[in-house]
Subunit: 264 residues, 2 copies
Amino acid sequence: MCVPGCLEAIVRGSRRGLLAPPEPTGGRPSDRPGALRSFSRVVDLTHAVGPDFPSFDPRPSLITETVATLRRDGYNMRRWHLIEHTGTHLDAPIHYADDGTSADCLEIEDLVAPLVVVDIAARAQDNPDTQLTPDDLLAFEVAHGPIPAHSCVAMCSGWDRLVTSPRFCNADEQGLMHFPSFHPDAAALLIERDVRGLAVDTLSLDHGVSRDFPTHRARLPTGRWGLEAVANLGALPPVGATIVVGGPKIEGATGGPARVLALV
Amino acid sequence: MCVPGCLEAIVRGSRRGLLAPPEPTGGRPSDRPGALRSFSRVVDLTHAVGPDFPSFDPRPSLITETVATLRRDGYNMRRWHLIEHTGTHLDAPIHYADDGTSADCLEIEDLVAPLVVVDIAARAQDNPDTQLTPDDLLAFEVAHGPIPAHSCVAMCSGWDRLVTSPRFCNADEQGLMHFPSFHPDAAALLIERDVRGLAVDTLSLDHGVSRDFPTHRARLPTGRWGLEAVANLGALPPVGATIVVGGPKIEGATGGPARVLALV
């Protein structure tokens, strides 16, 4: 199922120079591939998922079926009937590009990446329609240094705490959802920075009210990936953690529930 | 869904002293919880899983169903109909104990663990019915030092290379499978060592010809977990790597496909 990645190669060759790049040295020394990374604790960035987990899709996102029991069969076992984009989950490039990489074919080195956490929780508390903007990213770089290439940039809006509440989707009377996400211009700047992954603690890489999903459409066809409905970003430092994306290795997957950890 | 873990607590309180314990210091200094761990490369220990992945179960272990397409809906998305114990996967304690911990409730610190790799591949090549014995473990400790508490011990039999061949299940004319695994006495010794996880590159924590699954029955009800059908163990050092078990966080899961990585 692994597509050779022609589109990715073309984009990789042409993505330099549109906006101010980071320092030519390519970020902090410890962020270079093959560099030594260290950690002493683990933070689980994954929500537990049940049949009632919030979803965009009107179809049931998870149904579990018992297929064996200890009493009858000697062991317990179930079958899941599961929509790929359920819970804390990965969006693979193929989700928005027929020739895009599927979840099983993403480079493993990309799935263990420096994690940058940009906190807009104070603003999001007052305005659920706020977005993470290029100005937020530039201010972040002034405070914390260049956002490294091949990293994952996460938006911390504090929305994970609402996951069991109707405020997580925050739908209005017309059914339009209101929650924060990346502004498309911020997503474009992070392509310039050669960032591999975006993560959000809300339901979508795109703004709740979006009807046309510009961040999905701009990023995923370039071979990049996303994580949606991530938890516990507020427990992490702005820089210095490593994200581990335990995404599914099911052939052809457009994404899927992922066990996402931070090594701090 | 998280069971308080009474059984685990009882076992934890009574498991000392049945067999010779490791050094009282509890293994290498770097293996203590909270110790600094370092790595510079990542090895994917996960097989890609399709509908034909080998299985014990006669039921289809994975069926994928397209529910949205880019052309029709603006994005690609599928539904999986998936048996929990498919592909490279986790066995949670509840798989063999109704009051056991489900996959979503395993301690995250236990799922990022020192990885010990015991290689019996040369012997397995000549004899598919061989088992990893207590003598193998004691010889390993003479060569490499005490097996640390809270680690994961993996059997490397070289069986992962057979995954696309009938030799992976290696069923005889009566349908009995022939592949290596842990001898029950080795599994018991590793409970003594307070090892949290066992991993095998074959289809079961139990020997292929086993009818009564003694290793499953002895280990899982003590709150420990297993990994089956792991790949690429031959690329790892005997000691020094860290395993990351990206197991599913689906409520009540008896196990499930896991993205398993080694940090080296």
